[in-house]
């Protein structure tokens, strides 16, 4: 065990993967010598060589197409997209190719590709360094969508993603890279050191895909969250003094409906949180399925607390971010409902 930030945990997962499988390689914009703009691939080129950890031209479609081509030739590529906001030039390669090739070839070509990309706001990144585009990806058949909320899960989930023969998109909430964030920008920044989930084994381990984590048990209501919002949820629940069950989804697709339904059937109330815009966000999917599977247990409408249906505004970042005030209001509202 070692104290690790989420950056270090991601780095450690990549290091282990490169070590264990000679067919794994790591690439993206600035990921080679420099080690990535957030440092997630730092030191890996030096250690594993520039044939296995290298820079790419600035073309997200090319990055993903290259990963597809490599996978079709038996490799296990891990591609980085510098910011989730910049993934769209590569989206066609994901929708029309990466996720379709195993299907349309009837399994003749598998696509064990992992795409890592930092997402989310809270760093004054403005509208092009803050997006949470996960909902788009949950609507793509054949794609696994993963988002960790802490260093321990980040390493375990990333190794599970890399080792999985399905294509995976792995979102890293950049606001959590250096410490947990409870949604209050005025507090001094927290660090992972000292945090239970900041203790990460140096060696190989995995956290299972498709399994949510009940990060706080409770009986009054269920809060569903992932990424940064997990920490906002925990703190909001604490401040509001509620006996809430907080579930960290970890895998968004396939999501862990079993765990979700068990909780909502128990509590009868639910709030869903995400940073992404509200309309057709992933919260909508969760709510649609919850009301179908848990209808008769529900005592109030399931509420969503989300980003607004606008780009992430730079100066008004904290009016956009679904922080504690809004979360607590929803928690209370759902209890009254």
């Amino acid at each position: 065990m070692a104290g690790m930030t989420m950056i270090k945990a991601v780095n450690s997962a990549l290091d282990v993967a490169l070590q264990n499988d000679p067919l794994t390689c790591v690439f993206g914009e600035d990921t080679g010598y420099f080690g990535g703009v957030f440092g997630c691939t730092g030191g890996l080129q030096e250690k594993h060589g520039k044939n296995r950890v290298f820079d790419t031209p600035i073309n997200e479609a090319a990055i993903i197409a290259m990963a597809i081509g490599m996978a079709s030739n038996g490799m296990r590529p891990v591609a980085e997209i510098q910011f989730a906001d910049y993934i769209f030039p590569g989206l066609d390669q994901i929708i029309s190719e990466l996720t379709r090739i195993p299907y349309r070839s009837a399994g003749q070509f598998l696509m064990p590709v992992t795409i890592r990309t930092p997402c989310g706001g809270g760093i004054y990144g403005g509208q092009t360094h803050s997006m949470s585009p996960e909902a788009f990806f949950t609507h793509i058949p054949g794609l696994r969508v993963v988002m960790p909320s802490n260093p321990y899960d980040a390493k375990g989930l990333l190794l599970a993603s890399i080792e999985c023969d399905d294509p995976v998109i792995f979102f890293e909430p950049k606001r959590l890279y250096n410490g947990p964030f409870d949604g209050d920008p005025d507090k001094p920044a927290l660090a992972w050191s000292g945090h239970e989930k900041g203790e990460v084994p140096e060696e190989h381990y995995t956290v299972p895909l498709g399994k949510a984590d009940i990060v706080r048990s409770g009986s009054e209501l269920t809060v569903l969250a992932y990424g940064t919002m997990v920490h906002v949820a925990l703190e909001s629940v604490r401040v509001a003094g509620m006996d809430a069950e907080v579930i960290d989804l970890r895998s968004l697709m396939p999501y862990d409906m079993e765990t979700i339904a068990a909780s909502v059937n128990k509590t009868g109330r639910c709030v869903v949180l995400h940073e992404a815009p509200r309309t057709s966000g992933f919260g909508a999917e969760l709510i649609a399925q919850i009301q179908e599977d848990c209808f008769y247990a529900l005592e109030a409408p399931v509420l969503r607390v989300t980003g607004w249906d606008t780009p992430y505004p730079h100066a008004h970042e904290w009016a956009y971010f679904p922080g504690q005030t809004r979360v607590i209001r929803a928690l209370k509202q759902v209890m009254e409902g």
């Binding site: 067919l23 390689c25 044939n51 296995r52 031209p57 073309n59 479609a61 090319a62 197409a65 290259m66 990963a67 597809i68 081509g69 490599m70 996978a71 079709s72 030739n73 038996g74 490799m75 030039p89 066609d92 390669q93 029309s96 190719e97 996720t99 090739i101 195993p102 299907y103 349309r104 070839s105 009837a106 399994g107 003749q108 070509f109 598998l110 058949p141 054949g142 696994r144 999985c164 023969d165 399905d166 498709g210 396939p254 409906m257 079993e258």
Partner: protein
């Protein structure tokens, strides 16, 4: 502000083809070279010197069917007869399948009529372990690699033996065993993938190379640029082919090429040598692919080959070319018919004749007929049997997750 006005079209410029329906075909814009006229640079040449090879036309066969010049690959008569047979087989297969589609036996079909040499020459100039990332008009590769015709048909009629379980439109073959990638319905996507495959071969220290094909129209897609950029930067062992068959559905090649009629010339700006080849000249095509393959295998990187040919048929079974180009335009095509030209060459060599050609055609027609008969014994799209319905939920994830299991149960399969 001046407003748009038809009478005053000002500077707006949209390229127009040389002839539309009811007009005289006109190919005077096609820059021809004499057979044998273009020098063959060494494979380790500086890409910058390939202006001639990329802007003029590399041709070996002349009007009399004689082979000329430095690009003559000097193939044996046996090789040439096999090549001819493969081109004829492609055409025989296409003819029958196209007709069957018209009869409602399958949902869609695409012919390679007039450009059969492109796929056959490339496939034969490469090795069987080399990986192919074709578009939908290189079915010839499958014949050249001896794919079972019955299997090909089973795919096209989506029956119980379709190796793609009925999931793909006809002619979107996949054949991993034969190193033939999954054909995409999305234009151009396979071009940079081929580069990735080639990079992996390099990384693994293997000797196989990759090749990919796009049409003239598809060169406009961003993925074309992605492929050239990757191939250049990583010096990948890949052959990038543009099949310039003059048309992209109803758009003539000028809607992609604009003021620069050569697509091969695009390569040079990316540090990639360009070869512009008579796409109806089997010998020239074979030689160009050999050149590119040798370059790739020597660690020198990619080549961009443009095959200048003509799409003899409609784009697919879904369009009527008489609505956008002169009906008989193909007849005026200055590079002729690739099958006739290779025949003429073999005849000139004294290695072929009318009778052998007729025997070949008869035998192939029968082969295709029998194959279709056998294929239908495994079902057809309309009458079944198809792959089991439950298979529509397979192959998305290595293990079927709960949501697909539920959906399968919902469908009751």
């Amino acid at each position: 502000m001046q407003r748009i006005n038809d009478n005053n079209p000002l500077g707006f410029h949209v390229p127009e083809p040389s002839a539309r329906p009811e007009e005289q075909p006109d190919f005077s814009h096609i820059r021809l070279s004499d057979a044998g006229a273009i020098a063959r640079p060494p494979v380790d040449c500086d890409p910058a010197i390939t202006h001639e090879t990329s802007c003029d036309l590399i041709r070996v066969l002349d009007d009399d069917g004689k082979a000329n010049g430095p690009w003559d690959p000097k193939l044996s008569a046996t090789h040439l007869r096999e090549a001819l047979a493969l081109m004829c087989l492609t055409r025989a297969y296409d003819d029958r399948m196209f007709k069957l589609q018209r009869q409602g036996k399958m949902s869609f079909y695409v012919k390679a009529l007039g450009e059969e040499a492109v796929a056959i020459a490339a496939a034969r100039a490469m090795n069987s372990e080399d990986m192919m990332f074709p578009s939908y008009r290189q079915q010839g590769i499958l014949f050249a690699r001896n794919r079972d015709m019955v299997e090909m048909m089973c795919h096209c009629i989506s029956n119980s033996k379709d190796n793609l379980k009925g999931r793909q439109l006809p002619i979107h073959y996949t054949w991993a065993e034969g190193n033939f990638f999954s054909i995409s319905g999305n234009l151009g996507t396979q071009f940079p993938q081929a580069v990735g495959w080639a990079m992996a071969a390099q990384a693994k220290g293997e000797t196989a190379i990759a090749a990919s094909w796009v049409g003239d129209g598809t060169t406009a897609e961003g993925d074309f640029h992605a492929a050239l950029t990757l191939a250049n930067v990583y010096r990948a062992p890949v052959i990038l082919n543009v099949v310039n068959n003059q048309w992209a559905i109803s758009s003539f090649a000028g809607i992609a090429s604009g003021a620069q009629p050569s697509f091969a010339a695009r390569g040079i700006g990316y540090g990639i040598p360009g070869l512009r080849v008579d796409g109806n000249d089997y010998l020239a095509l074979f030689a160009a692919t050999k050149w590119a393959a040798e370059r790739a295998r020597s660690g020198l990187g990619a080549t961009l080959i443009e095959s200048v040919t003509y799409r003899g048929e409609s784009h697919s079974t879904s369009d009527d070319p008489g609505r956008y180009r002169p009906k008989d335009e193909w007849k005026s095509w200055p590079l002729g018919d690739p099958i006739l030209r290779l025949q003429q060459h073999l005849i000139a060599l004294g290695e072929w004749g009318e009778k052998r050609q007729q025997e070949l055609e008869t035998a192939q027609a029968e082969q295709v007929r029998l194959a279709y008969k056998e294929a239908t014994s495994f079902g057809t799209l309309r009458e079944g049997p198809l792959a089991p319905t439950s298979t529509i939920f397979d192959d998305l994830f290595v293990e079927q997750p709960w949501h697909l299991r539920r959906q399968r149960q919902d469908l009751g399969v």
